[in-house]
């Protein structure tokens, strides 16, 4: 127990450093807030007439309710990419080597950065729900619904953060990590993040149906628009947890490999 305390302290200190660095660099946080909110506003104004009108799109209070979960996932994806790029910058700039040379716990190097990604993901989810609420959106599931949405966003932030750290450790290049952004963006579009799966056709529908992001978004969306059950919530939480375990595990292995190579 006493051995764990320094790790927790170091994790908190490194997470805090990452959060402060992110806040100080507008290019690190601005896209993760601006683009999802602007797209949410544009899609709401463009597709407002769709719910209950077109086949496959059930009636609901408003398209804004439908759009919130996609915006949260998009924000977490962009934020996670920036966090991964920032970690790669730490590697490029030598901060990572100084950390390794110090008596800092190896675990906290990983958990510190992950902690920052998770904190930013939680902040984004709450902020997006609050902003959408100002413009009339409501979470049908109430407080429990908000908790489920935030838990899924948290786990997904850990998954994206883990992937960002993995890429940063393997490439050591911020540009290479940022270069993955178009792929993430494609993953988002080839899912039901912005429009219902039942309105899609052909191969596009099949790809979206295989995309795990579809199920994360749908799980969050059920909490917001209504129709959530314990199973829809557990599906989203389970998929986000699975993705987080895979990417965090991969980043731990990448860290071990990098330490072994540099030793």
């Amino acid at each position: 127990m006493t051995a764990a305390i320094p790790v927790i302290r170091q994790t908190a200190a490194l997470a805090w450093r990452s959060i402060v660095t992110t806040i100080r660099l507008p290019q690190a946080w601005f896209p993760a807030l601006f683009f999802p909110l602007v797209l949410m506003a544009i899609f709401t104004a463009s597709f407002g007439g769709a719910p209950g009108t077109i086949p496959g799109f059930p009636p609901m209070r408003s398209f804004l309710d439908f759009a919130v979960s996609g915006a949260i996932i998009q924000g977490v994806l962009i934020g996670g990419t920036s966090a991964g790029a920032a970690f790669a910058t730490d590697i490029e700039g030598g901060f990572f080597d100084r950390l390794v040379a110090s008596p800092t716990s190896r675990t906290s190097i990983l958990t510190g950065r992950l902690g920052a990604s998770i904190a930013l993901g939680v902040g984004q989810a709450l902020l997006f729900i609050a902003i959408a609420a100002i413009f009339g959106a409501r979470v049908d599931g109430g407080l429990i619904g908000i908790i489920v949405v935030v838990v899924i966003a948290t786990l997904f932030a850990a998954a994206v953060g883990g992937l960002g750290i993995f890429l940063a450790l393997r490439t050591g290049s911020g540009e290479a990590v940022q270069g993955m952004f178009p792929l993430f963006f494609a993953l988002l579009f080839f899912s039901s993040a912005f429009f219902p799966l039942d309105t899609m056709v052909g191969w596009y529908h099949d790809v979206a149906a295989l995309n795990p992001i579809t199920y994360l978004v749908e799980s969050m969306r059920r909490e917001i628009i209504g129709g959530a059950t314990i199973w829809t919530a557990l599906t989203g939480i389970g998929i986000a947890l699975g993705l987080a375990l895979i990417t965090v595990g991969a980043s731990a292995l990448a860290l071990r490999r990098r330490l072994r190579v540099s030793a």
């Binding site: 544009i42 104004a45 463009s46 007439g49 769709a50 270069g179 178009p182 494609a186 429009f195 596009y204």
Partner: protein, 255 residues
């Protein structure tokens, strides 16, 4: 005449960079294709709204993807100018007897050539998706509107590059071009827009460019009442952004 020769020489140099620095330019070639596939695939269902009058949503999206592709080409011309400013090539050009306007026209010509290429890619993708070409004159009109928007985006991006003198200004170039397209009739016709976007799109010149281009694509003919507002809006925007791009050249000479 000399200005034209210098412009064409600079355009050729810009186009060579496509081959030499592919990591910078390949995304701008792929993005219009991605926009076409992702938009028409994800929002396929919206085509069932009565405002679409039964039109194919893929056909509806083609002019937007072509316009966006030209916009990306325009952004890249600004990024090239910014790189040349950072690397000192622009200073050498300024100290040469080359006409100043050629420093802008060269990268813009290169953007127009790339716009023709990206628009062709979009049409080929449309053909693969089952949307036949709309006929020669409407096709040329769609190319024309894409080039017009590409020229506008190029002037904007070059104007930003000449003021910022760094490629780090690229997000500003991109953001404005993205928003100008997205805050128009990019996804649905004007009659289907709700609330604030209806008002913003009404004031956005890109709305009229897209409406004219889309009319040619969907009807297979040139409907003058929908074409002239696009021409007026596009050329007015080009004149304004041309002034925006040219203005800093005189200032640069004094640095």
């Amino acid at each position: 005449m000399k200005g034209l020769a210098v412009s064409l020489g600079l355009a050729g140099r810009n186009l060579l960079l496509v081959r030499r620095v592919p990591s910078v330019f390949i995304p701008s070639l792929i993005m219009p294709l991605f926009i076409l596939i992702a938009t028409s695939g994800a929002f396929h269902g919206i085509g069932a709204l009565p405002e679409f009058a039964g039109a194919s949503y893929l056909a509806f999206t083609i002019p937007m993807a072509a316009t966006m592709g030209a916009g990306f080409a325009g952004i890249n011309s600004g990024m090239t100018v910014a790189r040349d400013l950072e690397g000192g090539f622009f200073d050498r050009l300024q100290s040469s007897p080359a006409p100043r306007v050629a420093l802008i026209m060269g990268p813009m010509f290169a953007a127009l050539v790339r716009s023709i290429f990206t628009t062709t890619i979009v049409f080929i993708a449309g053909l693969i998706g089952g949307v036949w070409l709309p006929g020669l004159l409407p096709l040329l009109l769609i190319y024309g509107f894409a080039l017009l928007f590409g020229a506008c985006a190029s002037c904007w991006a070059i104007g930003v590059a000449l003021r910022a003198r760094t490629v780090q200004a690229a997000p500003i170039m991109q953001l404005v071009v993205f928003l100008s397209v997205f805050m128009s009739v990019a996804y649905v016709p004007a009659s289907a827009l709700h609330g604030w976007l209806g008002n913003v799109a009404g004031l956005n010149p890109v709305t009229y460019i897209l409406t004219a281009s889309r009319s040619a694509e969907l009807t297979g003919s040139i409907i003058w009442s929908e074409t002239w507002p696009g021409l007026v809006a596009g050329f007015a925007l080009l004149i304004l952004l041309g002034i925006f791009a040219l203005a800093p050249l005189r200032h640069l000479e004094n640095r």
